[in-house]
Every structure is written in structure tokens, then in C-alpha cells.
Amino acid sequence: VKNRLRVLRAERNWSQADLAQRLEVSRQSVNAIETGKFDPSLPLAFRIARLFDSSIEAIFLDSETETPQ
């Protein structure tokens, strides 16, 4: 699935390492999620959504519609 993680991170001026530290994952994980090479599990998706004070649907885009809810 595509996502808006890179945009949301850039809005907050966070580096991948900053985001990784906040999510308690490796920087490689953040990179893989951002580039769409790895789809996070539901618990991690919830953690990301909580961190950005947003809903999962607003961050992760359904590949069928590709528009945030």
C-alpha cells in the first residue's frame, strides 16, 4: 500500500532516524515503509497513526482508490 509517511515526516522536519526512534523501530523499517517495500502490521500502523495524530486511512492509501480518506 502507498502511504503519506514521507510527507507527514517532512512537515514535522523529522529525519527517518527521528521517526524510527519515536516508533521504536529501525531506520531501515521507516525507509522500507516509506518506499512501499514493506507494509507495516496493524499494531505498527496504529502506532504511526497515533504519532501523527491521524487515522490509518489518512496515512495509508488504498491501492484501489489511492486517495486519503
Binding site: 531501515q28 523499517s29 522500507a32 514493506f38
Partner: protein, 136 residues
């Protein structure tokens, strides 16, 4: 081993896992050589024990891998490790299949299947290194 100890991209748990793999590789090779040497110079009864010895590090690792996977909090790293393990199992299977066919044509060196553990460790470590590089 030094690379694993000094690599700053690895967290302590991943470093321990890499060291465990390397140690298994070295221990299996040493025990294999020791049991091979011992089998030539000991009583037949002891040979059974000696032949089982090289499997001990591998069996230990088989118990420790699930432990590592349970402890690893990063699901992406967990995925990489599982993929690396699958690649690790793949190489000995390919080699053994080729070896099996070779036996039909011309019997090769019979000691090759004994190196399966080493092949597994090398393939898994190599696969893990490639994936870490790919996603860096």
C-alpha cells in the same frame, strides 16, 4: 565476527544473533574436524557420540532462533531474518539435490552433506547482509 561487533547499524539483539550464527559456523566446523579425527582413533562405541557432536551447535541455534524472533520488537527486521533463514535453508537443499544426482553418475566426495550446517549459516548470513544493504 569483528564486523558484527563493531557495526553501528545493528542493535544489541541483532549483534548477538549474528555472533550466534558465526559461533555456530565455527563450532560446527571445529567439532566436525574433531569428530572426524576422533572417529579414526577411538572405539566404535564412542563414534556415535562423536558423530552427534557437530549437530549440537546447530540444534542449539534451532532453539535460539525462535527465542530471538520472539524478542525482536522490530517487525521489519524480523521479516528480514525469516527471509534470510529461508534462503539459508535453500542453499543446502540445492547443493544436496545436485549432489544426489551426481551420486548416480559418479560418486563425489561423501563428506559434502556434512557441510550442510555451514552452508546454511553462510547462506543465511549472506542473504541477511544483502537485504540489510538493499534496505539501508
Amino acid at each position: 565476527m569483528t564486523l558484527l561487533c563493531t557495526n553501528k547499524n545493528l542493535n544489541p539483539l541483532q549483534r548477538r544473533f549474528g555472533i550466534l550464527f558465526s559461533t555456530t559456523l565455527i563450532a560446527t566446523s571445529l567439532l566436525f574436524m574433531w569428530s572426524d579425527h576422533g572417529a579414526r582413533n577411538s572405539l566404535a562405541a564412542w563414534n556415535v557420540v562423536l558423530f552427534l557432536l557437530p549437530a549440537v551447535p546447530f540444534l542449539t541455534m534451532m532453539f535460539l532462533i525462535p527465542y530471538y524472533l520472539r524478542q525482536e520488537k522490530d517487525e521489519f527486521v524480523r521479516t528480514l531474518v525469516i527471509r534470510a533463514l529461508l534462503w539459508g535453508f535453500g542453499l543446502p537443499m540445492v547443493v544436496d539435490t545436485i549432489w544426489g544426482f551426481l551420486w548416480k553418475v559418479a560418486p563425489p566426495d561423501p563428506s559434502m552433506p556434512m557441510m550442510n550446517v555451514d552452508l546454511f549459516c553462510i547462506a543465511a548470513l549472506f542473504a541477511l547482509a544483502i537485504q540489510v544493504r538493499r534496505y539501508r
